[in-house]
Symmetry: D2
Amino acid sequence: MEQPTETRQRYAYFLQIPTRWMDNDIYGHVNNVQYYAFFDTVIGDYLIRHGGLDIVNDAVVGFAVESLCQYRRAIAFPELVEAGLRVARIGNSSVRYEIGIFTAGYDAPAATGYFVHVFVDRTHGNRPTTVPDKLRAALAKLFMVSR
Amino acid sequence: MEQPTETRQRYAYFLQIPTRWMDNDIYGHVNNVQYYAFFDTVIGDYLIRHGGLDIVNDAVVGFAVESLCQYRRAIAFPELVEAGLRVARIGNSSVRYEIGIFTAGYDAPAATGYFVHVFVDRTHGNRPTTVPDKLRAALAKLFMVSR
Amino acid sequence: MEQPTETRQRYAYFLQIPTRWMDNDIYGHVNNVQYYAFFDTVIGDYLIRHGGLDIVNDAVVGFAVESLCQYRRAIAFPELVEAGLRVARIGNSSVRYEIGIFTAGYDAPAATGYFVHVFVDRTHGNRPTTVPDKLRAALAKLFMVSR
Amino acid sequence: MEQPTETRQRYAYFLQIPTRWMDNDIYGHVNNVQYYAFFDTVIGDYLIRHGGLDIVNDAVVGFAVESLCQYRRAIAFPELVEAGLRVARIGNSSVRYEIGIFTAGYDAPAATGYFVHVFVDRTHGNRPTTVPDKLRAALAKLFMVSR
C-alpha cells in the first residue's frame, strides 16, 4: 500500500469544497464517509461542467463500481478541501479516476483514492455501454499516468 | 411555542430508524440536520409502502415547502429512533405532516416538528396539483387533530 | 407565513457553499434536509472564524433548540449556494439566526429560515448559560431587524 | 479483484439499517457514498454494544486508514439493508473488517468491502497504540478467514 508521495502537480483538475459542520464526527474530524462525497462531487462537477453530462436527460450515465480511500491526515471543519482529479484509465465502458484531497498549508494530500465508473444506458436496463464521445474527449484532458 | 406534551399515542404510524455513526457530530449527539432526514424518511416510507407512491414513475410527487423541528432531548448513536407520524391537514394540493422523534425509555419525544408537502405534476413544469386519490386515502388514515 | 421579499441586502455575512453530488435526491434537486446543513455551516463558520469559538476545547457551546426552513425555489448540483446570515435576537443564553439561501442569477432567495441556539456549559451537565462575551461581540455585528 | 461469491454465511454479525429517503441520489439508487456509512455504522455498533467502546470517554479509539467498496447491485429506498461484518485481521494496533451489504430476497451481496482501523491514543497526540483488550476479545469473536 506504500505509494510515492502525491502532490497537487499530479492532478489535472481541482474543485474547492468547503467542509460542512456536520462533516465532523464525534472525534472532531471529517468522517471517513464524507471523503467519498468529495470524490463523486469533483467527478460529477467535471463531467457536468466540462463534459456536457446532463444528469437529468442523458440516457447514458456513470454508475459506481468500485471506490477506495486511504486516509493520511485528519481534516476538520471549517477547513477548505481542494479535491484534485486525474483520469488513470479510459476503457470501452469504464473510467478510473484518481483523487487527491488537499488542504491549505500542506503539499502532501490528506487522503488519496480512486473511483471507477461504468457507463450504462438507462433506456436499456442499465446495460454497460461505450463511454459517450463528449465525455471521452473531456476525460482525455485529465489523463495522467498513475505511479 | 409551548405545546402540551406529546406522547407516542399522538402519532398514527411509526418507523424504526437506527442512528448511524456519522449522525453524531462533534458534540457527540445526533446533529440537528439529521432529524429532518428522519422526518422525510418516515413520510416517504409511508407514502411508498402504504400509499402506493412510485417515486420513479409517478408524474405527481410531493415537494417540500416548509419544515420545522423543536429539539427537546439529545440523541446519540447507536440509539434507535422511533419516528411517529400523523397527518394534521390535507388540503387540495398540500399536506401537513407532524412528526415525533422518540427513543427507548422515554414517553416524551426527543424532538417534534412538522413538514409540508405540496404535490406537483412533473410532466407539467412541477405545477401544484391535487393530491392523488391513492395518497389521499392513505393519508386520511393518519389524520389526527393537532393540539 | 407570507413575508416581504428577502434579498442579499438583508443579510450581513455570506458563505459560499458548493452543492455536492449527493445533495441531489431522486427528484433531481437538493434534498430538503441539506438546507439545514447550509444553515449550521454558515453559523458555525462565522462563530469559529469571527467569534473565536473553539469547538474542541470551549466549555460553552451552542445547542440547536429550533429550526425552520421555507423552500421557495429548487436548487440542483452543481449550483453554488451563497448562504446569507443575520442575527435577529441575542438573549441571555440564546441566539436567533436568520438565513437566506441564494444562488447565482436570482435576487430572491431559494429558501429562508431560522435557527435558534441555546448556549450550554458542557462542564456543568449542558446547563444553559450566558452567551460568552467573545461570541456576543461577534454576533452583534450581524444584528439586523427581521421584517 | 474477482472474488468467490460471498453469502450471509460468510459474515459473523449483522445489523439491520433501513435506507433513508435522502440516501437515494438523482439516479434513484442509494448513492455510492452511503455504503461507507453502512460500513462504519455496523462496525461502530458492534464495538460499542459488544466491545464496550465508549466513544465519549475512552482514550483509545479507532481512526479510519483505508476503506474500499465494490458495488454489485443497486439498492433503493425504502429497502432494508442488512450489513454483515467479519474481522479478517487483528494486528497490534490495526484491525481489518470486511463487510457485506445484503438486501431481502438475494443471497449475493449488493456490495462488499473492507475498512481498516488503526487504534490511537487521544491523550497522546493520536499516536497508534495496541488494540485495547476489551475490543480485541470482542473482535476475535468475529474472526473469519477471507477467501
